[in-house]
């Protein structure tokens, strides 16, 4: 497919063109929190930081969302009516995250009505990462700083310009519809390789993770978990900042027969998540809850969706108040299990 180029001085013009057919979401810094938001008329995306604090999943899966509306005896489903969504400036990790959440929300058995409504006819424009951050580890878990999984268009920053590569048919159609965009010349396209190579070199060599699931399964009852999880406060910032954590709660808010049924991001890190009506809680300790998070992402999801529930964005590493690092956990798990395997 043909490549296009977008001069950085034309980003607003590009966004305005996209805005003719899409509700455009892009990274912004509002009230000191960086996140993907619906751009207001004339608002520019903020491309000064690599990763937003909040994951891009919330564009398709809002933190709080109305499922149903109640009025007396009448119950009506809430309907998304914001039109097709385009996300500009999402990083490859977040774009891969959409695919992973989608495998859960849209499976052979049940299709999530609300997720699909926002995903329908959407356009994902990912921007590759020239200078990955210290906490980035996308290359450990099947991704990469220029991985196009989940993207319709992949943009590469070559200095003054972005080179735009259409990945899907939708991406191609969207780009060809924007008349001011110039086709990229071979001399520009050639610059991509150098940018990508430099970025990849800056990422540390990943460990071999083929047997991570087997290692974790063998460690389920090992005291290793106590050590790994001892300092965890159970604050759940790791799950709320995670692009692939999808768990939610459903709560009703009604007054005099009128109201809504909401779904709200929830977290396996809080005791109430699994506490039953009888008072019984199958996950009483913070150890068992953090173990659940790691087992889910690196063992169970291999069984349920065929890949890790982690895209290596490193948000959980950056946000953890007690510096728990998932990479250290992975390495420690591999070491412990391999030693144990060797010993037995």
């Amino acid at each position: 497919m043909e490549y296009y180029k977008l001069n950085k001085s034309n980003i607003d013009k590009f966004i305005a063109e996209l805005g003719k057919g899409y509700a455009v979401y892009a990274p912004v810094n509002r009230d000191g929190i960086t996140s993907f938001e619906h751009l207001a008329e004339g608002e520019s995306p903020n491309m000064d930081f690599l990763l937003t604090q909040k994951p891009a999943k919330e564009v398709f899966y809002p933190q709080t969302e109305v499922l149903l509306r109640f009025d007396g005896d009448k119950t009506t489903p809430s309907k998304y009516d914001g039109g097709p969504i385009a996300i500009f400036g999402v990083r490859p990790c977040d774009a891969r995250g959409f695919k992973i959440v989608e495998k859960v929300f849209v499976d052979d058995r049940y299709k999530d009505f609300y997720w699909l409504a926002r995903r329908k006819d959407s356009l994902v424009i990912a921007v590759g990462c020239n200078s990955p951050l210290r906490e980035c580890f996308c290359n450990w878990v099947g991704g990469g700083p220029f991985d196009a999984t989940g993207a319709d268009i992949l943009a590469v920053d070559i200095g003054e310009e972005y080179i735009l590569e259409p990945i899907t048919e939708a991406g191609k159609n969207a780009l060809s519809a924007i008349s001011f965009l110039e086709k990229a010349e071979q001399i520009d396209i050639d610059k991509i390789e150098a940018v990508q190579a430099k970025s990849r070199e800056s990422l540390p060599e990943p460990p071999e993770l083929d047997d991570l699931k087997a290692c974790l399964d063998s460690l389920f009852d090992d005291p290793f978990w106590n050590e790994i999880t001892a300092k965890c406060l159970g604050c759940a910032v790791c799950t709320f900042s995670c692009p692939t954590c999808y768990c939610f709660d459903i709560q009703d808010e009604t007054r005099r027969g009128k109201g809504v049924r909401l779904r709200i991001w929830d977290t396996c890190q809080f005791p109430i998540f699994t506490k039953e009506g009888s008072g019984h809680n199958p996950r009483k300790s913070q150890m068992s809850r953090l173990r659940q998070r790691y087992m889910h992402k690196f063992s169970y999801m291999i069984e349920t969706i065929g890949e890790f529930g982690c895209v290596g964005c490193g948000r959980c590493v950056a946000a953890c108040p007690v510096n728990i690092d998932v990479r250290e956990f992975i390495i420690k798990a591999l070491e412990t299990a391999r030693q144990k395997g060797a010993a037995s």
């Binding site: 119950t75 049940y110 389920f220 768990c247 459903i250 009703d252 998540f273």
Partner: protein, 277 residues
């Protein structure tokens, strides 16, 4: 597009107290719009919904062979069940389902069936028993034995029906209570002990076992001693649940979601799950 979060309206047509302490109540529901009627199998569950009170999952106590209504027996323990207990006949609530898998009735065709229940966990076992005894299915199965225990007679659910089954010749019913009480002339003793005493033949027999965790824990070794392999012992698991359709991430035990991969599991499956059930 079908919205799996949208409850279907059902009318509460009959309510009755199921236990003498009024903590257990049975609700018979009928679809407000007959075209909403769904097919289901014994062991499946539904989410019942009351605007403002939320939703909660309950096993279906009727058999698909009983037409025209769905039955649920509900223990009053929290916000939702309290709201449901306060409902009056004629009121309308919501239902989503049927959800989850069911007892493997096709797999054990031609075999004997041992049904063991305790407390109010007889709901989907009632569904199963009625299904197996239905004239359309009874010839497909060998002997049917039911062992059911409750702490005392007043907590025994579906008691009239159970006593009626005691007089039928196509099912052997053994009712037991924990401690002797005046006027009780049936068995006394815990379910594991009674099972051990009755010593049902394990050859060619499949077991469906539901009850409080303590009962399950002590009945399993008894069954093992009698020669039942874990592949032929099934149970229905419970977990706190929200969506019921494998999305909200709450009810997993290991890699299995109780809502979509269960609630019915064999103990051979459960043995492979790392987390405690």
């Amino acid at each position: 597009m079908n919205n799996p979060y949208m409850p279907i309206p059902v009318r509460v047509i009959k309510i009755r107290n199921e236990s003498d302490d009024k903590t257990l109540r049975t609700f018979d529901l009928e679809f407000v719009n007959p075209e909403d009627t769904f097919d289901y199998m014994p062991g499946q569950f539904c989410q019942l919904s009351i605007p403002g009170a939320g939703e909660a999952p309950f096993g279906i106590a009727t058999s698909p062979t009983e037409k025209g209504f769905l039955r649920f027996t509900v223990n009053r323990v929290g916000v939702f069940t309290k709201a449901l207990h306060e409902m009056q006949e004629g009121e309308i609530i919501g239902i989503r389902g049927p959800l989850g898998n069911w007892y493997p009735v096709e797999e054990f065709k031609g075999r004997n069936v041992l049904i063991i229940g305790g407390g109010f966990a007889l709901t989907t076992l009632r569904s199963l028993t009625v299904y197996l005894r239905d004239k359309a299915h009874r010839a497909d199965y060998g002997d049917i034995t039911l062992i059911y225990g409750a702490r005392r007679p007043g907590l025994m659910i579906y008691r009239d029906e159970l006593e009626q089954w005691e007089n039928e010749n196509d099912i052997a019913v053994h009712l037991t209570i924990d401690q002797p009480v005046d006027g009780w002339d049936k068995r006394v003793g815990f379910v594991p002990t009674v099972t051990s005493e009755l010593a049902p033949e394990s050859l060619d027999t499949w077991v469906m076992l539901c009850g409080p965790p303590i009962m399950i824990r002590y009945t399993l070794p008894t069954l093992a001693k009698l020669g039942f392999p874990p592949e032929r012992i099934y149970t229905s698991l419970e977990r706190r649940m929200k969506c019921g359709i494998g999305k909200c991430g709450r009810c997993n035990i290991g890699s299995q979601y109780v809502c979509v991969d269960g609630p019915v599991f064999s103990f051979a499956q459960i043995e492979k799950i790392p987390e405690e059930i």
